[in-house]
Subunit: 526 residues, 2 copies
């Protein structure tokens, strides 16, 4: 009998109940399988994890915040302590650079995010208590008391991992059990993280089934699961096609889904900025578009360049940088194939090749620049917004600010939109003409900085209008806002004080900001 | 040529562009048509109102908060000043009592709600500014910059009217244009409100197309409209069937919809409370279930009564009150027919008739009590949760607290759940056994009070888990939370201060609560 790696169900590591076959990770730089065989779960694993999570939900809802925070801190510490091993695993499975990306940036970001969640748990920061003493009404945000299913993406083996990233930390902070669907492109990294999470759970006394993980299942099972009314919510980061299919299933069942779907992250270069520092901008653009092999949700996929000598010089410099660069390793054959298709689709829609455009050895792809006139873009605006996930960007030529404004108006919802402006204020008229239109199309409006690099900050918005995400009111990065996705609003009407939750009682549990009779305060109620 | 009443499109009163026929209001007490003929709009009216709203969106987004607040205040004052006429119209169209309901309760509630919206606009209360000075990130909530379509219900001609209620006030407060779909059961009341709103718009200088109104259109057109990606959001209060159809269309297009759908509002009577004041509870229950002819979203549709002498006495008293009451006038033939069907469905599922059960003259219906054993309820829990919109309630007998807990666990999502407990604390063990289960099923947990009566308060939650509403994270009553439904999250990254919105600049525009570098404050940034 073949044995596969164990899944984490019901608080213990166990053999898959009904593996439908198996899969292995690959070294993307060689396109060769590595590591052990992981099971592809069937309905029995899904049902067992759902039942265990449902059972764990009540206990977890009633767990004191301090204990939840202790778990998050313990897990963060375990990740930091295990950094060597985690980085080695993730590097092998993703080909992302061990330094600085994995070790110096992504791993510390991941543990930092867990610690921020712990802090917000201790401060009750996500609970938004509102008290009306005259009306006898007290409201706050509370756990969903149901399992949260998290689908992790391929492109952040730590920071967006379904078992360690922002969706995970947010759902646990709100005291909901999490069932993590690891991404099959980095199963051993996910396994190691799940081991650390599980150990931290046991150490801090949380219900053991509060955290579960499956590696993989068929799409059809995933869609059926997304429509399971027993779910409290779904967090998803991934492709638009996959996300929209899950969203349709979840919507039908009334299950809230927070899906981050796709974005081309338009970057507008205003004439003054180009005149001031066109060469430096070409460097910034090249670095942003090719870092991590361009496999970021916030990759600059479209750059709008004004006509004229400065625009031409920028383009020449950028084309040279792209042309001279080595092919970049992508995560998987699927990513490579999708990128080939996307580039073909863009060319079919009218984009011209400036450099690159071809797949290479292993799962490599050449850094690629395409270009199109403003008029041609407007004529095929929908098709030319196809996301090319990888080191690819489309240059759109714009004769003037008015054309830029029209191009901005044609965009679908995006995570980010960037405007580069001159430091002397000479672009400010153009800014005022362009920014209001771009503003309504994007979750984060950026000045003079490339969109890659999503800071972990309470003022971050890693979200945006549909179809960049499923709902423009939410962010997947930046606590406490990201935690609120996994909560429900609950009001207490005429309920005696001793029967209320801690943060709604007269005595402030300690520094909690509350809206009491129209005034924000962290005082007790007399 | 037949002339119908005018619609409000593009900032002016005009004939419907493509009326598909007409309808008239009815006096529900006589089942006779009254008042003028109102047009049933076609696609041309819809398209014209959409274009006008889209044109108005930019100007409205950029309107200073003070001017928005002035409009809301002016509209509120106009409603108060026109109370005699409004109450006469609404009474004629709905048969709701002029006093106290319409004049003393609902009309003042409506103008009060508009004034609260004005206050929250002046205070920037819904914008939630978050500033990270080190990270150069500043985030807040902003207008959707797209039209909001509001569907009003039949049961509140003022307070939930699509042109005057909480959805309207909330969407306008967030500086979004509103297209109101009036409810066809009170067109003349809606027309008068729209006249007052339009006058107030002109007086305060808001874009005239910021507020538009149609009276009626076919369901198929409504569904197509709900799926129009040009919409910013939809607010809906009404039937579950209608709301779910709109939700499916909106979900598919990625249009956020906030739908309040249905609720049976379970009321649990604990033994100590019944022993203490069973007769008074029967009175309270009867009053709550028959007030407004029982046509409330928060009507107590299911009452769980413990076995024993006190439970029997309560039931006898309640049955007597229901039996002795006059038939109640419903809003329309449709409401009457739906109620006949719902009562039949409940009886088919096993409910026994205690009293009432029949339709009467005009659109009347007898106050009706049904009953079922706890076991029979559990066997048909889904069918016995059918909402009977009107003066009807189902008594469920429960032998003990454990049975009550199981019944609570079987409930779908509801707006409210109520527990009556003894004032001496003798029911507290039962409370602790029952409340955690009921809590997760309802938006508002109530002690010792009937669920009808939704206070306008920042700590109110008029929302609840699916399928009582479309999303358990939102409320349609209670500002500023209700306003946030009609906003998008926007972050500014590295944007110079002079290019930021007012409430994100260093200088606090005046008393605005902001989260700055992890600390809540209304100070300026130095």
């Amino acid at each position: 009998m073949t044995t596969f790696e164990q899944v984490l169900i019901g608080g213990r590591w166990c053999a898959s109940l009904d593996a439908h076959g198996s899969f292995r990770a690959e070294d993307p730089s060689r396109a060769e399988a590595i590591g052990p065989a992981f099971p592809i779960s069937g309905i029995a694993d899904i049902e067992a994890s759902m039942r265990a999570a449902i059972d764990a939900a009540d206990a977890l809802s009633a767990t004191p915040p301090e204990r939840i925070a202790d778990f998050l801190d313990a897990y963060a510490a375990a990740i930091d302590a295990d950094a060597d091993r985690l980085v080695a695993l993730a590097h092998a499975e993703t080909a992302l650079p061990a330094e600085p990306r994995l070790r110096a940036v992504e791993l510390p970001r991941t543990s930092h995010q867990l610690r921020l969640a712990a802090k917000d748990v201790r401060d009750y920061a996500w609970t938004d208590p509102v008290i009306d003493t005259q009306g006898g009404l007290r409201a706050h945000r509370a756990p969903l008391n149901k399992p949260v299913l998290v689908f992790g993406p391929n492109n952040f083996p730590f920071a967006f991992n379904a078992i360690a990233g922002s969706d995970f930390a947010s759902a646990i902070a709100a005291r909901n059990p999490v069932i993590a669907k690891a991404h099959p492109s980095h199963p051993e990294t996910s396994q190691r993280l799940a081991q650390l999470a599980h150990d931290a759970l046991l150490k801090t006394g949380l219900p053991a089934a509060a955290v579960q993980m499956l590696y993989h299942f068929d799409n059809a099972l995933g869609l059926a699961w997304a429509g399971d009314v027993r779910l409290g919510a779904i967090g998803f980061t991934g492709s638009r096609a996959g996300g929209l299919a899950l969203k349709a299933a979840a919507d039908k069942a009334g299950v809230p889904i927070y899906a981050e779907l796709s974005s081309v992250n338009p970057v507008f270069l205003l004439p003054g900025a180009l005149a001031e520092r066109g060469d430096a901008l070409a460097q910034e653009f090249f670095a942003s578009c090719t870092m991590g092999s361009g496999q970021f949700c916030t990759n600059p996929g479209i750059v709008i360049v004004p006509s004229g000598a400065h625009g031409d010089a920028f383009l020449a410099a950028a084309t040279r940088l792209f042309a001279e660069a080595e092919p970049k390793v992508l995560f998987s054959r699927g990513v490579q194939q999708n990128l080939v298709h996307a580039v073909n689709d863009l060319r079919t829609a009218g984009a011209q090749r400036l450099t690159g455009g071809d797949a290479g050895e292993g799962y490599r792809f050449q850094p690629t620049l395409l270009s199109v006139s403003g008029d041609a873009f407007m004529a095929q605006a929908q098709a030319l917004q196809t996301e090319a996930f990888g080191p690819v960007s489309l240059i759109v030529h714009a004769p003037n600010t008015s054309a830029m404004q029209k191009i901005a108006a044609s965009f679908e919802g995006n995570l980010t939109g960037t405007i580069y402006r001159a430091s002397d204020g000479s672009d400010d008229d153009a800014w005022h003409a362009l920014a209001p239109t771009l503003r309504t199309k994007v979750g984060r409006l950026i000045a003079n900085k490339m969109p890659t690099g999503v800071a972990v900050s309470a003022a971050m918005n890693h979200g945006g209008p549909y179809p960049s995400t499923s709902h423009s009111g939410f962010t997947s990065v930046g606590m406490p806002a990201s935690i609120r996705r996994f909560t429900m609003l609950q009001s207490y009407d005429n309920v005696p004080e001793h029967l209320l939750p801690t943060e709604l009682r007269n005595r402030n549990p300690g520094g909690v900001q509350r809206l009491i009779d129209g005034t924000w305060t962290n005082n007790d109620i007399a």
